[in-house]
């Protein structure tokens, strides 16, 4: 993929949303977890990232994988492990009130920022409040925050306007709101672009970095848990071109790199370790759910017929069975709310009869908006179009070449259906893409059943109750067939021989090198 589309990739990483901790099948490059003993410390770790940082200021920077640029120097309140568990970081413990509207966090003692200031509740409050007004693109992930208070020196309370059980999840290292900035940095946000001010394991070294090309972070000697620091230096190289990425990781110029299915096959043949985890759920969203411009889509039977038309297994194997799975429901396998053995499967006969019953025995024509940045080669879009054609729905694909173009086109309300991947660690998180206005809901449609279930999920008392609601959401979503799920695709990473401890899962598909507990950190292989 083109280097020229780098910023788009960064953007993509920023658009991602990931998962809350529960059970998940983790995929790790090495079984030796927690084996801090014996591994060598020090030296330099070089990793690759495909996009340039959106900003080095965490309040304006990217989320998900692109959070690496700010996660290295800024510790987060909560830490998410590779298999998706949430463990203490700057917050030693946290809890919700019974209505999931008030999150109370206890702040770690004895931590200092690189600017010399001490970390306390006031600093955390200031950082979160700065994030909320800084104007970053990901501000919505902070949730419906009503207020942030610091009742004592080590206690911070976040009050939400409505239940927000995902709060701690969005306070992890992957999200700007959780990355705590020092008071001096907040006082002079511009300084953050050249000098980091966090409590993290590494500090940004502008003098050793080249903007948009390589970013160097040096060990922070003031870090609160020196045991967890594995390297003297971490270098993040920006390499967008897949071939260049492959050469860099096969020749040892980078120890870690993101790949695509094509380069993954190459990397595998040159003996590199691969770490994969499901990431995107691809599907067709009937954004004109109410039939404003495409009356046919108002009919639920029509939408279900579309879902029944897709041959998911064939598409998954066409994309490469190693890194893609056919998926007939909202979330990917491994996410919370995934119902085993459930989901749409291809049934052309039934699809045709549903269409006939709905008054479209000869099908109809539908223009579908898609793009070729994420859907490289538009393989997925073409497969969907071809399968829909088999039940009589003639699809005309309108392909955009950049993500911003796609977003603009979708928001223009000129398309009744779009093909776009969604992400979420729970079915509710995925559902949020459809019930809130945005690129997958430009018409601002609402489905009462789904809206209610979403609210239920937010206020459910405990994890098992929530999971029950998540599963209901999965089924209700398929019944509404607003979103036609098709396939889930993996994030693929190559890990050099000199590196161990890299872990990814459906709940956390974007591995990052650092961890407050050495058990979860990347280490130099012996």
């Amino acid at each position: 993929m083109p280097a020229s589309r780098l910023p788009v990739r960064a953007l993509l990483a920023g658009v991602t949303a990931v998962a809350i901790a529960l059970t998940a099948s983790a995929c790790s490059d090495a079984a030796s977890k927690g084996g801090a003993s014996g591994s060598t410390k020090g030296g330099t770790l070089t990793t690759q990232f495909a996009g340039i940082p959106i900003s080095l200021n965490p309040a304006l920077g990217g989320s998900g994988g692109s959070a690496i640029f700010t996660a290295l120097p800024y510790d987060s309140l909560v830490y998410q492990t590779g298999d998706g568990k949430l463990i203490p970081d700057l917050a030693t413990k946290w809890s919700f009130n019974s209505t999931n509207t008030e999150l109370t966090l206890t702040i770690r003692d004895g931590v200092t920022f690189t600017d010399g200031e001490k970390l306390d509740a006031a600093a955390v409050k200031a950082s979160i409040e700065y994030f909320l007004k800084a104007g970053g693109g990901d501000v919505r992930y902070a949730g419906p925050v009503d207020s942030v208070t610091a009742p004592s020196a080590d206690t911070v309370t976040i009050t939400y306007k409505s239940p927000y059980p995902d709060g701690p999840f969005f306070l992890t290292q992957y999200w700007g709101v959780g990355q705590i900035i020092g008071p001096k940095g907040i006082a002079d946000p511009k300084s953050l672009l050249t000098k980091s001010d966090g409590t993290g394991q590494y500090a940004y070294a502008a003098s050793q970095s080249v903007t948009n090309s390589s970013y160097t972070y040096v060990k922070n000697e003031k870090y609160f848990n020196p045991d967890a620091q594995q390297y003297d230096k971490v270098v993040v190289k920006v390499i967008g071109d897949p071939s260049a990425t492959l050469s860099a990781v096969t020749t040892g110029q980078a120890s870690f790199a993101g790949l695509n299915p094509t380069t993954a096959a190459n990397a595998k043949s040159s003996g590199l370790k691969l770490v994969t985890a499901p990431f995107f759920t691809w599907g067709l969203t009937n954004v004109d759910y109410q039939g404003t411009i495409a009356p046919a889509l108002k009919n639920k039977d029509v939408r279900q017929a579309m879902a029944l038309a897709i041959d998911r297994g064939a598409l998954a194997s066409a994309l490469g069975a190693d890194y893609n799975q056919g998926n007939g429901q909202l979330g990917a396998k491994g996410t919370d709310g995934y119902v085993d053995g459930y989901g749409y499967e291809q049934d052309v006969q039934k699809a045709k009869s549903l269409l006939a019953g709905a008054g479209y025995p000869n099908g109809f024509t539908l223009t579908v908006l898609t793009e070729n940045v994420l859907d490289n080669q538009t393989t997925i879009s073409q497969a969907i179009a071809s399968d829909l054609g088999k039940v009589g729905i003639t699809v005309k694909l309108d392909v955009k070449n950049t993500v911003p173009d796609f977003i603009q086109a979708s928001l223009s309300k000129k398309y009744a259906a779009v093909i776009w991947p969604v992400i979420g660690a729970t079915s509710a998180q995925v559902l949020a893409n459809f019930i809130q206005p945005g690129v997958t809901n430009p018409f601002g449609n609402a489905d009462p059943t789904l809206t209610k279930l979403y609210a239920d999920a937010q206020s459910a008392a405990d994890a098992s109750a929530r999971t029950a609601v998540f599963e209901q959401i999965t089924k209700a979503s398929n019944d509404a067939a607003w979103f036609v799920p098709v396939v889930s695709t993996d994030n693929i990473f190559a890990v050099g021989k000199d590196l161990t401890g890299v872990t990814a899962s459906a709940l956390n598909p974007n591995p990052l090198p650092i961890a407050p507990d050495p058990a979860y950190a990347w280490k130099a292989a012996k």
Binding site: V238, S247, Q253, V403
Partner: protein
């Protein structure tokens, strides 16, 4: 000569304004805006509007350009919309990379192109035909294709040179040189063949001139005839071609820097163009314009030095 340089400097100021204006006008038509790029898919229109205001994007276009130009006159190229870094600093960090690439390529193109071209003109016969064939193939293969094969051969299969990246000169000339061997090879192959072809044609032309026969008739050594008289006279047309080739290498650098992940101006401007980072595009545009002007000036000055007829004026 001094008048030539002064005229060129005045002209270059005009050219910079014209070139930057062209870029500015074009870039302002680019659909989508930087604010949207920065904020991503989920940003509210409100947020986008606020950022546009912060970035000065809500100002009328002539005002934006006027402010930029005023800044340039004060030595301020503005700031990157995306990273907030001063554009001058972004360019300063990356200029050495692109210049290293250009200088080494120019060296390779002129030296190898001359030797090959002169050799094939003087030797003729099978060696000449071999050189012809090689240079034709070199001309025909696209530079990015060559780059890929070079990496596969010399960086991945036999690990002689690094596959990607740049080593600053200050960290030692050897790593610097090694990191540039493959990019320079990819970048200069086409230029070498063009210059070699031109050199061959003009050397053959010179060899057929009367004065070469007179030199031979005077018993001058063949070596001196070839390396002094033929070279000097054939160098003139080749110099013009070399100038065009070096300017072309600036375009090539954009491709090569991307393939080899070199943090130069070419990769900077591709990133900046797609993310609509206008100040950076303008800044690099100005630098590129200046480089072109300098290259043309150097060619003209060298032309004057080599050609006595021009020098007298």
């Amino acid at each position: 000569m001094i008048r030539l340089i002064v005229t060129r400097l005045v002209l270059s100021a005009v050219l910079v304004v014209i070139a930057s204006l062209a870029i500015f006008v074009l870039m302002s038509f680019v659909p989508g805006d930087p604010a949207r790029t920065i904020l991503g898919a989920n940003a509210t229109p409100d947020l986008v509007a606020r950022l546009r205001e912060q970035l000065g994007l809500d100002q009328p276009l002539p005002v934006q350009y006027g402010e930029w130009l005023a800044g340039v006159l004060h030595g301020d190229l503005g700031q990157s919309v995306l990273s907030g870094d001063p554009v001058a600093q972004l360019i300063a960090v990356r200029l050495p990379v692109t210049l290293s690439l250009l200088l080494l390529s120019t060296l390779a193109i002129s030296v190898i192109g001359t030797v090959v071209g002169l050799g094939s003109a003087v030797r003729g016969g099978p060696l000449g035909r071999l050189l012809d064939t090689v240079s034709l193939v070199g001309l025909a293969l696209p530079s990015y294709w060559v780059a890929i094969v070079l990496v596969a051969l010399f960086a991945v299969a036999i690990r002689v040179f690094p596959a990607t990246g740049y080593q600053p000169f200050v960290d030692g000339p050897v790593p610097w040189f090694l990191s540039l061997v493959l990019p320079v090879a990819a970048l200069s192959l086409g230029g070498i063949t063009i210059v070699a072809k031109q050199m061959r044609d003009s050397a053959l032309d010179v060899l057929g001139r009367d004065y070469i026969r007179v030199l031979r008739a005077s018993g001058i050594r063949e070596r001196s005839i070839v390396f002094k008289h033929v070279l000097r006279n054939a160098a003139l047309p080749s110099l013009t071609v070399l100038g065009i080739t070096v300017v072309g290498a600036l375009t090539g650098a954009v491709f090569v820097e991307n393939v080899f992940v070199l943090p130069g101006l070419g990769s900077l401007v591709t990133q900046a163009t797609t993310s609509h980072d206008l100040p950076v595009v303008l800044g690099v545009g100005v630098v590129f314009t200046l480089v072109v002007i300098v290259v043309n000036l150097v060619v003209d000055v060298l032309y004057g030095v080599l050609n006595p007829k021009v020098r007298v004026r």
